[in-house]
């Protein structure tokens, strides 16, 4: 199976040991959310995958270990969108083409890709606008699209969705599904974990829990102890379960209402 694997990753930043032999596997076509308390290394994972930090351990893409000689594979397969300031003065259209700079494509292919995302994300009216004139939400939207246009196998988002409209988030997820791009979504907003199949919980320099999102969320007490809340409908399902009104986790409002008031 195609996969992206972090194996026995250890990393120290300054005086702080961030990860102690952390291992994670992200299978292709399985979207994953990563949550963790502040300082648990969520952004560090992004920076490692972006090639920004040196680490001990290995990264494997489809079984091939990434080293200095084939580091380009990491850039090719994994797109990373960091949650840092994005205040470019360039036009949207220029930014989209700039996203393809490292892809070594001919102009026709570049144009084809740009046209495709412009149509899908309905960017026609803003192509000639400057990034710096946008709201934070819009800037992050463009920043993700700029990464998606490269067509990498995985996209890693460093708590980006929290800055965006839900409609835009849904559109990005649906584009990734259509284009077979696997999402690794690092998030501090629990509602977004429901958008992915798997959940990874980081704690104390390593992985505290990993598995299907709904199964992990059922570990309500553990999650609360680690400082997380539950998505509204999951919380409602579990609490109403204690009252004997619901016997499973329901994540759709209408289905929930029908289940309560039969």
């Amino acid at each position: 199976m195609e996969s992206l694997v972090l194996k026995d990753i250890s990393i120290t930043l300054g005086q702080n040991l961030v990860f102690d032999k952390l291992s994670l596997e992200f299978n292709k076509k399985v979207n994953t959310s990563i949550i963790g308390p502040g300082g648990s290394g969520k952004t560090t994972i992004c920076k490692i995958l972006n090639g920004d930090l040196k680490y001990n351990g290995s990264i494997l893409i489809n079984g091939i270990e990434i080293g200095e000689s084939n580091n380009y594979l990491l850039e090719k397969y994994v797109g990373v969108v960091l949650n840092n300031s994005y205040n470019k003065n360039s036009l949207v259209i220029d930014e989209l083409f700039a996203g393809l700079d490292t892809c070594n494509l001919d102009y026709e292919e570049e144009e084809k890709r740009v046209k495709k995302v412009v149509k899908y994300f309905k960017l026609q009216d803003i192509l000639e606008k400057r990034i710096s004139s946008f709201t934070i939400q819009k800037k992050y939207y463009i920043k993700i699209i700029k990464e998606l246009i490269r067509g990498c196998a995985y996209i890693v988002l460093d708590d980006i969705f929290i800055n965006m409209d839900l409609k835009e988030v849904k559109r990005i997820i649906s584009y990734c599904k259509q284009e077979n791009i696997t999402i690794i979504n690092i998030t501090s907003e629990m509602e977004y974990v429901l958008e992915t199949d798997n959940l990874v919980v980081l704690y104390n320099k390593n992985v505290a829990m990993v598995g299907s999102t709904i199964e992990c969320l059922k570990e309500e007490k553990l999650l609360r102890r680690l400082g997380f809340n539950l998505p509204f409908l999951v919380d409602l399902s579990i609490q109403l379960g204690y009252y004997g009104l619901i016997n499973k986790v329901i994540i759709d409002d209408r289905k929930m209402i029908d289940a309560i008031w039969k």
Partner: protein, 263 residues
């Protein structure tokens, strides 16, 4: 400290940085939720970093520059020094603070945000997003402003941290009579602590109200509707069940149980 905006006009290409003849009062000793208006713009207007096109701002009682505290969504932008301790001392010099025991003040500011003194020697660029936000707030609390403006502060913080800071904001309001202005697009996190809300769109004040008026649908034309409010409205519409205007999931659960049991 009361802040009165009277016929304020500010021009900008950014929707959240313009104001079009706005009249609004941020009452003293209250927690205001404010959406569609940049907290940075508000800070800059109050500290005269930005000049308005027209209109008046009244601050009552009159204050000093250090009475306005600001914590942004990207705290790295606000830091000018290498370490946390250096940053705090920078504020001390910048605002001419005359503290008898500076070290104690620094430690207590860190303690208020849940950090210990080991953070004093930490290099700012080595801090995680949530640590940066906490340190940024500690720096502001160190110079003890009358008004605290927090801009998208909750972004990147987890539930436990957000709850911690909500308690802190409440304490600052109740115990120390501070004004807290929360600028954000996510009202869900603040339903239980806000006193008043005001929503702007393209520089126009569209809707304002108190914590008793959170079920006003007009608000949610401009910002995302909290899931609990959306759910209760849907229950009313779909099943005709008249649940009260709850903002606490525990109260909602009890009400659902009572309703189903009674039937």
């Amino acid at each position: 400290m009361e802040i009165i905006l009277q016929d304020i006009v500010c021009n900008s290409t950014k929707a959240d940085k313009c104001l079009n003849k706005v009249n609004y009062t941020f009452k003293e000793n209250s927690i205001n939720f404010c959406s569609g208006l940049s907290g940075r713009l508000l800070r800059d207007l109050l500290t005269l970093k930005k000049q308005r096109e027209s209109g008046y701002i009244f601050v009552n009682p009159n204050g000093r520059l250090s009475d306005i505290g600001y914590v942004g969504n990207n705290p790295l932008k606000e830091f000018t020094c290498k370490t946390v301790a250096e940053q705090m001392l920078y504020f001390k010099d910048n605002y001419h603070l005359k503290y008898n025991n500076v070290q104690e003040k620094i430690k207590s500011a860190l303690l208020m945000v849940g950090l210990d003194e080991s953070y004093l020697s930490r290099v700012i660029t080595s801090l995680s997003t949530s640590e940066l936000k906490k340190v940024s707030l500690a720096c502001v609390l160190f110079y003890n402003p009358q008004v605290l403006i927090v801009d998208y502060f909750e972004k990147g913080l987890n539930y436990k941290d957000i709850e911690y800071f909500k308690k802190l904001f409440k304490k600052l309001k109740i115990k120390y009579n501070r004004n807290i202005i929360i600028c954000s697009d996510n009202i869900s996190n603040y339903l239980d602590i806000l006193d008043e809300y005001v929503i702007f769109n393209n520089g126009v004040l569209e809707v304002k109200g108190t914590n008793k008026e959170l079920y006003n649908n007009v608000i949610y034309k401009y910002i995302e509707e909290p899931h609990i409010i959306k759910f209760i409205n849907l229950v009313r519409k779909k099943k005709g069940v008249e649940l009260d205007n709850y903002i606490d999931i525990k109260e909602l659960i009890k009400a659902i149980y009572r309703d189903v049991e009674n039937k």
